[in-house]
Symmetry: C2
């Protein structure tokens, strides 16, 4: 299975920009107690690890990735409470963790439930899993054009050809449940961009989403999914949504579940979720 | 211009269910001070008026609609602080209000900016407008099927043929801005439904969204937009998303703006919105 986004410098910068802009939205409600052993599976170059480890300075992270090149880049970050390790989740020696964290990884896997089930075997009873994924089918915008959607569909198709699913966000609840986790709660994190939000116009519409679609230009054209003129028209249309009178919407999904019914660490988190109608609804941007 | 949803009893029940389930999400942050004169434009049978007037018991509402039949139904609600009046926004005698409220109305109008501009002339300087609309293009779900999207597109097409736009939610920021309002802030209100949220499975996926699409069945078929078997397949697929392993997402948009730069009543609301990154993002379900 190849990684659809590739590993070049520009991709590193994109992941860095993405992590920087979306930190609060995605990670604001994740922290681990002192002494907790946390496995981050599929850390890549450590773009999320920086935030994750800074928010839980007393926890100890083991951040793994199959790519030796990515791990080499990640190690340069010199994070005191993180051990970066090149490892294949399915081949690594057995070890038990208090918590597991997975971000932007399942979308690339042909069998995400198998990966989740494997992660569950590495979790102590009552430990938690946190999963964050995007969903490219959640993107809609103004002005909306056919060409823009065709360009987006190139990335969706390439990711599917590589065995992944870039529309996975909406499926997190059934996937995490099917892997045997309990107390599964999913909350959407919607990014909405309009002319009043210049930070997001630049940080999200341009430098995160559209840059990500642009990143598959050569592959999409050489695979015959689209011709160059049409792809470029779609990209221009996506940049057009970043104008003052344009808007852009995209939703990430975050799931938390526990291994078994004890849910000790989730107690506080779940306490407020039973009776309130508001909590039953999406909590984007809380 | 005909009202695409029709005016029959079932539609009244749907609007009632819709209003009941979504009250907190849509209206939780709207209230008006004692003595404020509020114009609700396009109140229909008063489904939103019930909530609106109950949340601001000391404000005085003038709720208008062009349909005499709807106004007759609305009056039976006997709301102490509401005057229901049959009136055409563009033909009614000039009157000035402190605030204007418009919910699920612009989607049916051929020229929403003209309606917004007309409403602005009826607003005192510094008064606010609040606009709430859905966006049927924001609907995505699991399992996702082509037939389900074809059924949804029937409603979108019928509404477009009638001069409206059921994808208007994403356009609220440019529309309200173009009508000359200041301090325009739009926040998305996302409804996310999965197997852990039985209230929403029933109240939203089944009885609000899918029931609304089902409501155009006869018209869509008689207009030749789709054949009966295909439409029914799409509806079955939408109900399928209400199963335990299905998910459903839909987003409403709420805009608030002021007439002129004074923004007296919005001061509190805007005070918290300058510096926080979180506030720049969508606030669904706050």
């Amino acid at each position: 299975m190849s990684y659809v986004h590739g590993y070049d410098q520009r991709e590193r910068e994109r992941l860095h920009d993405q992590a920087g802009t979306l930190v609060e939205l995605l990670h604001g409600d994740t922290s681990y107690p002192a002494g907790a052993r946390v496995l981050e599976a599929g850390c890549g170059v450590g773009a999320q690890t920086v935030t994750l480890s800074a928010r839980s300075p007393q926890a100890r992270f083991t951040s793994i990735d199959v790519s030796a090149e990515s791990i080499a880049v990640a190690r340069k970050r010199k994070l005191a409470n993180v051990e970066f390790r090149r490892a294949d989740l399915f081949a690594m020696p057995h070890e038990t963790f208090d918590h597991v964290f997975v971000c932007f990884v399942l979308e690339h896997l042909p069998d995400p439930v198998a990966a989740l089930a494997r992660l569950r075997t590495m979790l102590r009873p009552g430990g938690t899993i946190t999963v964050i994924e995007g969903d490219h089918g959640s993107a809609y915008f103004h002005p909306e054009t056919q060409a823009a959607h065709e360009a987006i569909r190139c990335l969706v198709a390439l990711q599917r050809d590589a065995g992944g699913d870039s529309l996975i966000g909406r499926r997190l609840y059934p996937l995490v449940s099917a892997a045997g986790f309990e107390h599964v709660r999913v909350s959407p994190r919607m990014v909405y961009v309009d002319g009043s939000r210049p930070d997001l116009i630049d940080g999200f519409t341009r430098k995160t989403f559209t840059a990500m679609i642009e990143g598959v230009r050569e592959t999409a054209i050489s695979e015959g999914l689209i011709d160059a003129a049409r792809f470029d028209e779609g990209i221009r249309d996506l940049y057009r949504t970043a104008a003052d009178d344009g808007t852009f919407s995209y939703t990430f999904f975050k799931a938390v579940g526990t291994n078994g019914v004890e849910a000790d660490d989730l107690a506080g988190q779940l306490a407020g979720s039973g009776a309130s109608f508001t909590d039953l609804l999406g909590r984007a941007g809380d």
